[in-house]
Each structure stands twice: as C-alpha cells, then as structure tokens.
C-alpha cells in the first residue's frame, strides 16, 4: 500500500504522468458496472469536444485569435472521415489522417486571407465561412446525404471491429496524445513565441517572431484538431447531418476555453467538460429543469461572471487544490514552477 502511494506521487509529479493517469481513469469509466450506454455517450461527447477545445485553446488562449466558425471544420472532418470509411471502404486511420489534413489545409487557406484583416474580422470571416460550409453540407448530397443524414459504424482498427466502449478508449487515447503534443510545443520555442506575441506584438517581432507565421500556424493547428475531433464524432455517434454543425458549437468552444482557463491545456479539457456536462447536470436540478433554455442562461451567466471576476478560469481554482494538499503534506513548491502551463522541462 505504502509503495503504491509512492508510485502515484512520482507519476503525478510530471505533467505527462498526470495526463496519462487522467486518460487511464477516463478510459476505465465505461467499463464500470452500472455505467449506462447513455452515460458513455455523454462521456464520449465530452472527450470529442475536449479534442476540439484543445485545438481551440491553441488558437484563442495561446495565440489570442478568435474564430466563431470552428463547428464547420469539425463537420468537414466528420464527413470526410465518414465518406472515406463508409463509401470508399478505406481503413479508419487513413480517414482520421485525412480528417486532420484537409481541415488543416482549409485552415491555412482561410488564414492566408482572413489573417490579413484586423482584429475581430477573423471572427466574422470564420462565421461567414462556417455558414458557407454548412450550405455545402446541405447541398453536396452525393457526399453528405444532406438532411437525410450520414450514418457510419464504429471504427475497425487493425482488423478488429471496435465496440462503443472501445471506441471511447480510442478517443481518450487520441485526446491524451494530443494533450502531450500540445504540451510539448507550448513548452518549447513555439509556446514562448506565442507568449511573447500575447504579451507585446512589437517586442515579439523585434525578437524575430513572425506574427503572421504563428497566427497562421495556430489557426491551422486548431482546424486540424477540429477535423480530428470530427472524425472521432462520426465514428462514435455514427451519425452526422447539417443541423448538428450549428453556431452553438462554435460558441461553446469559446465558453470552454474561457471558463476552463485561457492558455491552459487542462483548462480546455475542464472547460469542455463544463460545457458538455453542465446541461446534463441542470437537467436533474429541481425547478431549473422545468425551464427550457435554463442551461443556456446558466452557462452564459457563468461565462460573464468568470470573465468579469475570475479571468484565470476554473482550472486556476482546481490547481490550487493539489497545492493546498501539498502544503498540508509539508512539501512546498515555488510559485514559478506552477506557472500557467508554461513550466519548462
């Protein structure tokens, strides 16, 4: 028992360890006896949305740009992945890669145009683009089947037909892998360049950081993550139609990053969990569950309160917990090392 606790502590010491531990706990959840299928669906919703939010965090939190059209890139990833697997009968991993690469290229193309515009023009341009792409979803019926909807199956991986639970584990694996990837480049020269850019664009340029390059890069990363999440969505929920990819998802992405905590990997995941789980929780709250739209009001109020009074987001509160526990255990860490997701290793 003593030995086991020690191992856990060592594991919790590194961010990789924490992510992997988090992933293992998450992956085990569907196999807990008594876990209903609809609960697994809810968890899947959370994990897929975490992937999008993680990419969106790179864009919004780390590079300080806002898009209101990322729902479209998730949709593009979903349809591409579905089409490649169900119609072209190619393996899922290939579809997953295509679902990342094509939104990535789309993101680069849009970024090349929209990043030349100033400030919130990017947000409006992406809003317009999302609407245009939604029309493609509706009208390009040979590929998307329009409002009839596109159905898919759980993925086949290495010749094994995955079940719902196994697909969920796959999603968790993708999420944890991407979290580690983001952690890596955020804690390297790329992350420092983004921090410099957020702090002062002029100083960043003087240090040789091309604003355009990093804005474009982060935009493309976020669209690629959205595409990958779309692929996961398609093969977990096994269905897509144009009504799913509405602007509400794009809004929820912004909420997730802000409420969870800007410029924080864990914040994005926590925020995604908040966005997905909060309406579910409100469903069981007495009185509130009798009102239509109550979840909207609550999440809208929360986002405004967080922005006004707690801009560091929920992750900041969550981070204080282990520090407090550690203090209780008599083991103190200097403040700098707990940084805002910037601890360098």
């Amino acid at each position: 028992m003593q030995n086991k606790r020690f191992n856990l502590k060592a594991l919790l010491g590194s961010r990789y360890g924490q992510y992997i531990l988090f992933g293992i706990i998450l992956a085990v959840l569907p196999f807990i006896p008594g876990m209903t299928s609809s609960n697994v669906t809810m968890l899947g919703s959370m994990v897929y949305f975490s992937v999008v939010a993680l990419g969106f965090q790179v864009l919004l939190g780390y590079s300080g740009q806002i898009s209101l059209g990322h729902t479209a890139f998730i949709g593009v990833g979903a349809y591409i992945s579905g089409y490649i697997v169900q119609v072209l009968h190619l393996p899922w991993p290939l579809a997953f890669i295509a679902a990342a690469v094509i939104p990535l290229l789309l993101g680069l193309l849009l970024g090349l145009i929209a990043l030349r515009l100033e400030g919130y023009y990017l947000a409006i341009a992406t809003l317009g683009l999302a609407e245009s792409i939604r029309i493609v979803f509706i009208e390009a019926t040979p590929i998307t089947r329009g409002f009839s909807g596109f159905s898919a199956r759980y993925p086949i991986l290495f010749g094994i037909q995955l079940t719902k639970q196994m697909t969920f584990v796959l999603m968790v694996a993708v999420l944890i892998g991407l979290m580690i990837i983001v952690y890596n480049f955020i804690n390297a020269s790329t992350g420092r360049a983004l921090a410099a850019m957020r702090s002062s664009e002029a100083a960043a340029q003087a240090m040789g950081i091309s604003l355009f390059k990093y804005k474009l890069m982060t935009f493309a990363i976020s669209t690629a993550f959205a595409g990958m999440a779309g692929s996961l969505y398609m093969h977990f929920f096994r269905y897509s139609d144009p009504t799913i990819w509405n602007s509400g998802i794009s809004l929820n992405l912004v909420v997730a990053c802000i409420v969870g905590g800007m410029a924080s990997i864990e914040g994005a995941v926590l925020g995604a969990a908040f966005v997905v789980l909060m309406p579910e929780i409100l469903k069981v709250v007495p009185i509130l569950n009798r009102f239509h739209g109550a979840p909207f009001v609550v999440s809208g109020v929360v986002i405004i309160l967080v922005l006004l009074y707690y801009p560091a987001g929920l992750i900041h509160a969550a981070r204080k917990l282990p520090a407090m526990l550690k203090q209780l255990a008599g083991r103190r860490k200097p403040a700098a090392e707990r940084g805002v997701g910037h601890d360098s290793h």
Binding site: V182, F185, S199, S200, A202, Q205, G208, G339, S344
Partner: protein
C-alpha cells in the same frame, strides 16, 4: 584593423507622418565595436530613427546598410521587421517589454528565437534534435544569466522583478541572439544613479566581451558622455553634430538646441 569598419551606415534617412518630417535626410555610421549615442531634445525623432532601422516603420527614403553577422552587406530597408534580429541587430524598448508570466530563463530563450532551427513538428514530438537544441540554448541562457549577475534566478517569474533587474534581463535577452549591434532605447530611464552606473559598466563589458557595437538613445547625459565613443546629436529629425563626447559638449549648435535648455 576591423574596428574602424562600419557595421551600420544610415544614408539620407527620411520619414514623415502626415506632412510632418520626423526624420529628415539623416546620415550617420557606427563602427564595429563602437558605443554610439543618439541624443536630441524630446520629439527630435530619435526613437523614430530606431523604428525605421528596425523596420517597425518603413522610411520614405534612404538606406540603412548593415554588415550582418553572416558577413553580408544588406540594406535593412529591404527586410521585414521580424527578419532584423536574424541579421544581427537587436533592440530593447523604452518601457521594457518582457513577458511577465514567463520565467526569467524563458524570457532569455525568446531572445534566441531566431536561432532555433527545429520547428513545430520536431517540438511537438519532442524529437531528439529539438530537445538537444532546447538544452543547448538553455545552457547558453544560464551562462548569460550568470554574466548579467542574475545567476541562479532563472526560474523566477519576470513579472514583479525590480526595474533594474528587468533592464538586465532585457539586455541578457539581446545577447541570446548573437548580435553584432545592440540598440538600446533609453536604457537608463527609470533607474537610480547606482543602477545607472552598474548599467554603464555592463554595457561596456558587453561591448568588450561580445565584440558587438551598441547604439543608444538616451536622455541621461552623464551616461551618454561616460560610455559613448561617439555621439550624434539631432534636432527636428536633422543632424546637428557628430563627434566624440568632448566635441559634442563643446558644440555651439548642440548647446543651443539641447544642452543649454536642459541645464
């Protein structure tokens, strides 16, 4: 003797904002390993000169010939703002532009940004070459921290440090880029006398140890007269006089335009 060769040669530089000539046909040149001061009354266009040669502004006319650290002669006007540091010219800002939420060490590493060869992909997958590169620059940053008198404090956050320390960090950050010419925008602003003296020593030491030239804009005349090899005095964007501190001190036009009023 390379010391007499010029590292930066400004020719006939002009820029105007809405009809107002901020810099008007200015020419001067800085020799290798020289500490060169640019002085002038408020609004004389000193910072505008800085912003032109570092390409934050595009001058209307003129050239800025620079001998890069790769040994080429280039006109800085042809480059983009973020290319300048890679050529070997690096600047500081009047009101210290450091990143508060990053550690001192990370702030220094940003100074080496232009030297990082491995990109996003290698960093994301922590390929060995990216890790090695990071480690290499971290070592360099640690030794520079030692050099600027902040050894062992790399893990501290930059935010909340005293002003004198921030100025040192910013100087250390310029050294990370292997510069040939460091441009300092009012380095003594906000420092007390002791801090200013220490800064003067540090600037001179940097010149001697790193073999680079220094161009500074400064209001603190004591500092300028103390450390500069040569000085250029400007007023209303035009050159008044150029010469050694002693010559500038004696110069009639400079006294009238600047020193006389200031004292």
């Amino acid at each position: 003797m390379t010391a007499t060769e010029s590292v930066l040669k400004i020719e006939n530089l002009s820029i105007s904002f809405g009809g107002l000539k901020a810099v008007d046909g200015l020419s001067f040149s800085i020799n290798e390993q020289e500490i060169y001061g640019l002085i002038g009354p408020n609004g004389a266009g000193k910072t505008t000169v800085f912003n032109c040669i570092t390409k934050f502004y595009s001058p209307d006319t003129g050239a800025a010939w620079f001998k890069t650290k790769q040994g080429k002669d280039v006109n800085l006007i042809d480059y983009r703002v973020h290319d300048i540091v890679g050529l070997g010219m690096v600047r500081t800002f009047q009101n210290v532009e450091l990143i508060k939420e990053l550690s001192i060490l990370d702030n220094l590493l940003i100074g080496a940004h232009s030297l990082f060869k491995h990109g996003l992909f290698a960093q994301a997958l922590r390929l060995r070459r990216a890790v090695a590169e990071e480690e290499q620059f971290k070592q360099k940053a640690l030794s520079i921290l030692e050099y600027i008198g902040l050894g062992g404090r790399g893990h501290e956050l930059a935010g909340g440090q005293p002003y004198g320390t921030l100025k040192r960090i910013e100087l250390g950050r310029t050294l990370m880029s292997d510069p040939k010419l460091i441009i300092l925008d009012e380095p003594a602003a906000g420092l007390n006398d002791t801090e200013t003296r220490e800064l003067a020593q540090l600037i001179r030491r940097i010149r001697d140890d790193y073999g680079c030239a220094v161009l500074l804009v400064e209001h603190d005349m004591a500092l300028v007269m103390d450390i500069c090899d040569r000085i250029c005095a400007i007023s209303f964007g035009k050159k008044l006089a150029e010469g050694t501190p002693a010559e500038i001190r004696r110069n009639q036009a400079v006294q009238e335009a600047y020193l006389g009023k200031d004292d």
